[in-house]
Subunit: 290 residues, 4 copies
């Protein structure tokens, strides 16, 4: 299919790539919700059948896409609003509010700026597992009784191992009830960069992410639910050539392994990692009444 | 001129962009030298007249380009050869071998991987100025009697100042006899990335470099000779679209401020910064007989 | 004098070192103010005469010390209170509220954790000078019309230059009206570490700071007012031996160049640098009515 | 026992702490070897009985201590000699020379300078496991047929997990034949800092290391041999007070969790991590004849 030629990690973009984005795709439900006051758009893509999954090239499940144009612009109050909206949808995917043990994995290469989103997000999380195990829940602050652990596994060029091997080993040793993975994504269009957050309950499929080296991180593989949160920070170099040409006939092979990213990506990653870690810290708080 | 549409920091690429790269350009002399054993190609572009400078869009002076395909590949012995070749040409531009005081400036943004070449190179230099001033030249090792100082000025988004303002201030306070600036460059073609080193005695012109935010660093501006050493680590996003289209008619404006870089750029920058700092450390040694 | 044997950068500790800390020292005025609700203690030491300066071993001027026990403990709301209190006293030292151009220098070594306070604080500042120069004041947000620039000069082992040479050069080139320097300090007692902020309008004297390599940064030297903001993050190793022994007779020479610091200093520096940059960002806002 | 009051990670220092360092301790054999030309001293402490282990407070096994005064001083040729000596002893502990799969773990906190030795060493290793698995052994360079993988697990304050939980999980998933752990250690005396390397085949015991947060990493626990390589980079603050006082009666509790380290620890860690990674890269090469 023409529309699948160039890779994207965003379900939203796959959906749009079908000729006439309002064409119905069997087994794929799309809903949109726009919060005018906060200028945050939420699109829900639900892939409900195997046929839909085949056509979309993505597994069955929910894909929430939160779009906020000014997400990467420094402005404290605004971002608190984004963090809170994001926390709301993370909790929706987490289901029933209660204490639990959660492992957060920050995928990606901390030494390549647009790929450092996951590592930087984990470094700002409130990590509580060791404290609860040593001092008990009563020692923690209000609502901080979930056991939160975090891992930054590195990338294959640094470790010689699949990210999925490392995560699986850690999951089997420490037995969390839920895995949340944070990852920098590749978008199809530069318009999505740094202003879109995708949340899904389907985990991570092989070949996604900036460095293209993630193995499968799914409930099937790990035995626990996996929520993946990603922000597109790069576009494959091939994609912008494709856009210009309208076809791939002369796609130059030397663009393999190259990505396109904005020059101020350092500021963007700093801002986004704050928003994501703040959203997670909010989402992990359990209200007393709950 | 068609060939000037897309920016490059490499004189070699400007020269090649003229239809038929063997066309003579008035006032521009090109010489090539190939070291088969070490697989290192050296191209010398000398712009000798104002007319040549106008046509090339670069100031009069010498531009040495050292090309070595395996430059970014890890292999200790090979890179020692590149360091030594590079040191040889740095000394050629430095002129007469003798003790002197040299300031090395590592331009670029240490937080954006392909732009961190300058900062990382300076961090591996043997800095001697403070030691010589405190303990005298006799306390230094063999041939280490040049006063070497280093500065990493940061980029305008971090400092609010032009790099040239910071460097000029430091030069006026500390009065070195020579400034060497290290910078990551933008090439026209992905083929040049991480395998080409450009040396020039013309300093740095406004608008060059990865982040596009360098002011002028020249002898005219600073009062001392300026050698610039650069390695292309990115290509402007617009350039690869131009290549695909063959023209700029539909150059999409959203590609402004975007660059293309390889996914393993972290390893490349680490390797290149070692090679550059080793070459400088060798070049700064003064032989006793000299 | 016995009390001067071991070095401290805190005027408060010098004052306390006099036998009977309520002894009057000629020309030195001490005032205390305790905010019970926020548990913040403010001590003002004013050295008003040359004789007081001689006895204290510190230049004439104001030294404000803000003490808050939980300063380094993660708790967002509490720290906003500290940032606001700190901003209040920074504005007191800055004098008359109005638009101005301010250079903030983050002293210290970013590669040594307890010495990285200054560099990390500057990296979180809102830098506006280049934006105002390019787009005008009207383009900035509410009250953001002061031209803020920032510099991280590095330390002498990295640059071969005195910090004061670099700062002086930058000041002379860019002509700010005020210099604010941020620095990690050495305290006399581990009790002060990471819970004390010192502000002074006397600038920086030679030999202060964690790495002990700062030259003089004063109005006399630079021609503009200098406010220094410091937090003690280390104690000289000799100091804790002195405390244990009660005298210096057997002070072991191998402790020279060694410092004492807490094991969790990375978390502390992260927290403190946020508080300091937030306080500066607040202090630099000019109220419309003003 | 008096000699056990203050903690050290060095078997050599435990041995010396016995009154009269030539006293025989039952089941503990000490051998010394001095290489005059290279000024490298090698001490072998073998704990051969349970009684010796009890008296030494360390498990049975071999402890090799390599001392070289100028280890942290920059000098390329000299350090190549140290790397080669170290590689020789690593191979002695590895036993029979042959291809194998080895996991190297860099323990410690990369954000606290003296604790970053392990993470920095791993970042300079030649990682080959993924390459051999994808391209086969024939694609690797001469003698590079061992499958090398690396992990930087972080510390408990960052992950909420014991280092040993993470390592155990990774070992069980990826099944290496040998684990090598690199760690920054606490010495008893500042004289040992940055000039001593300890190698042991006994792995890591709980409570060792700079941050004091390592669990047990032993053959018993992991099912594969564990070689631990450590360099002392800090002294517990309590130790230098003890030295000054000669007893612990007034050991001040506020020194808990504080360590002593040299001011130039950043340069030292950079130098040492190069030496260690170079030694490992040499040790992992399998000679064709072997």
């Amino acid at each position: 299919m023409e529309h699948m030629r160039v890779r994207t990690d965003l379900a939203l973009e796959v959906r749009e790539s079908f000729a006439g984005s309002d064409t119905e795709v069997h087994g794929v439900v799309v809903e949109e919700d726009y919060d005018e006051e906060r200028d945050i758009r939420l699109t829900r893509v639900r892939i409900e059948s195997e046929r839909g999954a085949r056509e979309m090239g993505k597994p069955m499940g929910s894909y929430l896409t939160l779009e906020a144009p000014a997400m990467a612009v420094p402005d404290e109050d605004y971002h608190r609003e984004i963090s809170e909206a994001l926390a709301f949808y993370i909790k929706e995917l987490m289901g029933e509010e209660r204490e639990r043990s959660i492992l957060v994995a920050g995928l990606g290469n901390r030494d390549v700026t647009p790929d450092a989103l996951g590592p930087k997000t984990v470094s700002n999380l409130l990590i509580t597992r060791h404290l609860i195990r040593e001092y008990g829940k009563s020692a923690m602050g209000e609502g901080r009784s979930s056991e939160i652990s975090g891992i930054v596994p590195g990338v294959m060029a640094q470790t010689g191992m699949e990210t999925s091997e490392i995560i699986k080993g850690v999951v089997e040793q420490t037995r969390p009830e839920l895995l949340i993975v944070i990852d920098a994504l590749a978008a199809r269009s530069t318009k999505r960069l740094s202003r879109t957050i995708q949340l899904t309950d389907t985990g991570i499929q092989p070949g996604s992410g900036v460095g293209n080296h993630r193995g499968s991180l799914t409930k099937e593989n790990l035995g626990i639910p996996v929520i993946a949160i990603g922000v597109p920070t790069v576009v494959e170099a091939a994609a912008i050539v494709y856009d210009a040409q309208g076809n791939c006939e002369q796609m130059p092979p030397h663009l393999n392994g190259m990505f396109v990213t904005p020059k101020n990506i350092d500021e963007t990653i700093k801002q986004l990692s704050f928003t994501l870690s703040e959203a997670l810290n909010i989402a992990f708080q359990v209200r007393k009444e709950a």
